[in-house]
């Protein structure tokens, strides 16, 4: 620096001489992220439960499921399983799918836009804690909505339940693998989508398309073969099929395209999506976190204000 500047340097603050700015060694040990992450997940969960808008969304799902069960009549063709059970199993799969691919990316995009991600990036251990909290939140949301749905329909409208320990086990692994297939994918989406308003519009349409082509809400065999094949690439079809195998009696297999539940295939496709999801999510999340900075935050805020989406 210039001599002039050095001449007006301020005096050292008493007591600070022993810790000059030049120490490169980490003076303070970093705490494990787990405690902060779990604490954070708990707090976010509490906020979710206290938020009437979020809660009514979840309750609407259950009401819709009850209405479906009440209105859909008849049996699955070629079986004595009520059609309503097939639809409810598909609806349960869609709930999981939607938590991973709609709720999660929306949360991520919103928190990115508001600056939560940047704040955590500027906090030691903040990003790992954030991811731990989000995982906790998603798992509790998924298990909560699924449990609520199955319990409410079973109690109120004679909905489907797993038939034995084997079926419960299937329910558990399909749910777990299904979440592993959609959550990393949702995280990757949340890392790249522009802002909460556009994000919803971009995700909603393909998701609804998959809902109707994956055989989640009516027997897949009634769809054209080409549509069936296209939908079979995506995880929703396999999640629905896996949940049907857990929730419907074995006799309902007759309505499946292959005439069986194809559980190995369910496991294979969902695992493949989980791997793809992780491979996409890790670099994309890292990039999203790295790119966060004050100026980007300001730019986005200005844009949002201009478009009238938020108040200044």
């Amino acid at each position: 620096m210039t001599d002039k500047v050095d001449a007006v340097d301020t005096a050292d603050v008493a007591g600070m001489n022993d810790a000059p700015g030049g120490t490169a060694e980490p003076r303070r040990p970093t705490r494990p992220y787990w405690r902060a992450g779990l604490l954070r997940g708990g707090i976010e969960l509490r906020h979710l439960l206290r938020n009437p808008k979020e809660m009514s969304g979840q309750l609407t799902n259950v009401v819709v499921a009850l209405l479906i069960a009440a209105y859909v009549s008849g049996e699955v063709p070629g079986t004595d399983t009520p059609m309503a059970h097939l639809v409810l199993a598909g609806f349960a799969a869609y709930l999981l799918f939607q938590i991973g691919l709609i709720s999660l990316p929306q949360m991520l995009v919103t928190e990115r836009e508001e600056g939560a991600l940047l704040r955590l990036r500027a906090t030691p251990g903040g990003i790992p804690a954030y991811l731990i909290a989000k995982c906790l939140l998603v798992v509790v949301m998924a298990v909560g909505s699924l449990g609520l749905l199955v319990a409410a329909t079973a109690l109120l409208v004679d909905g489907p339940l797993p038939g034995g320990p084997g079926d419960w086990l299937t329910l558990l692994w399909v749910t777990t693998l299904g979440l592993l297939a959609v959550v990393p994918l949702g995280a990757a989406l949340g890392a790249v989508l522009p802002n909460p308003r556009e994000a919803l519009a971009l995700i909603m349409l393909p998701t609804m398309g998959l809902l109707f082509t994956s055989g989640a809400v009516f027997p897949i065999t009634s769809l054209p073969v080409l549509v069936q094949q296209a939908a079979a690439v995506f995880p929703l079809k396999w999640m629905a099929q896996g949940l049907r195998s857990a929730l419907l009696p074995d006799s309902a297999r007759a309505a499946e395209a292959a005439g069986s539940w194809e559980l190995p295939m369910v496991a294979l496709v969902l695992t493949a999506w989980a791997v793809i999801g992780f491979l996409l999510a890790i670099p994309l999340l890292r990039r999203a976190a790295r790119r966060e900075s004050g100026s980007r935050l300001t730019a986005r805020h200005r844009k949002a204000v201009r478009s009238g989406a938020v108040l200044a």
């Binding site: 490169a24 970093t30 405690r35 251990g125």
Partner: protein, 306 residues
């Protein structure tokens, strides 16, 4: 303000040498040299697009410089790990995060990330948010929100605090309270503060030293009075002469002029007024000089680095 004096023993908290930043053909920073010392409040001033934000983000470790050398708390910000992050606090102007959280809840949560955090309740008292402790964050006023951001920025007892245009949108009272808070942090707790601002009065009030960044270069750097002295704008002396005519004269040596006037008048001078150049005069002068393209002539600003 503390007595100035060189501090040969302590290494600077921030040290930047010949930092440049270019996006393709667009050159944003053209060789920045900076030294910020422990316990100092340092203001970075400049018009929009001068490279202020880029400079600060390089120092914060959020942006990769094109060239040059940077040490912040002894570490290259591009390689700063968690331990380094823990020694730095950040207050940005656009934060609107954690809206659903309650004030005390948020502060208590962020305290858990640090090894030796401040007590959240004491911190709320320090920033004057004790009454709002149970309030949801999105119900705070703009000034309260910013004070919460400051509290979050210092909860981990940082040695270095970045304040990015902290008082934008504040009413005068909130601004004054904020200034008192920053002064307390710097004077009583020895926190080094790097402040970016448009507000010249704020810079003059808070900063021990000010650097003016224009066109990707630091034009001048020094104490507020130093800057004013160095500016070409000269002190203006106004008075009313014996015949009732108003006079004004610009001089580098107002004391001599006033003394002369008194000797000539052999008594008091009517309407005598001495106007020192304000920081604003200095600032405008710098900006205009850059606009004129006469910016090559700024030897007092740069140079001197090896």
């Amino acid at each position: 303000m503390r007595a100035p004096g060189p501090t040969p023993t302590a290494r600077p908290v921030i040290r930047a040498r010949n930092v440049t930043m270019a996006y393709g053909d667009l050159v944003v920073l053209r060789g920045i040299d900076l030294d910020v010392h422990r316990g100092e409040v340092f203001a970075l001033l400049g018009p929009n697009g001068a490279g202020k934000t880029t400079t600060v983000e390089i120092l914060e470790g959020f942006r990769q410089r094109s060239a040059g050398e940077v040490r912040v708390l002894g570490t290259d910000p591009e390689r700063g790990g968690d331990a380094w992050r823990g020694r730095i606090g950040l207050v940005l102007q656009s934060w609107r995060d954690h809206r659903r959280w309650r004030v005390a809840e948020l502060l208590t949560h962020f305290a858990t990330y640090y090894p030796d955090p401040r007590d959240p309740a004491e911190l709320l008292a320090l920033v004057g948010l004790t009454d709002q402790a149970g309030r949801q964050v999105d119900r705070l006023s703009g000034g309260q929100r910013r004070r919460l951001d400051v509290a979050l920025g210092i909860v981990g007892r940082p040695e270095l605090l970045f304040l990015d245009e902290p008082t934008t949108g504040f009413d005068p009272e909130a601004r004054r309270e904020f200034h008192v808070l920053v002064e307390r942090l710097a004077r009583e707790e020895g926190v080094t503060v790097l402040l970016t601002t448009h507000d010249l009065v704020e810079a003059e009030r808070l900063a021990d030293r000010i650097a003016m960044l224009v066109g990707g270069r630091i034009r001048v750097c020094g104490t507020p009075s130093d800057l004013a002295r160095r500016a070409a704008a000269q002190t203006e002396v106004r008075w009313t002469a014996g015949d009732g005519t108003a006079h004004r004269e610009r001089t580098k040596d107002p004391s001599r002029l006033v003394w002369q006037l008194h000797r000539d008048a052999e008594g008091p001078i009517a309407d005598l007024e001495v106007r020192r150049p304000t920081l604003e005069d200095t600032y405008l002068h710098m900006v205009h000089r850059a606009d004129d393209g006469t910016d090559q002539a700024a030897p007092a600003v740069r140079g001197g680095h090896r």
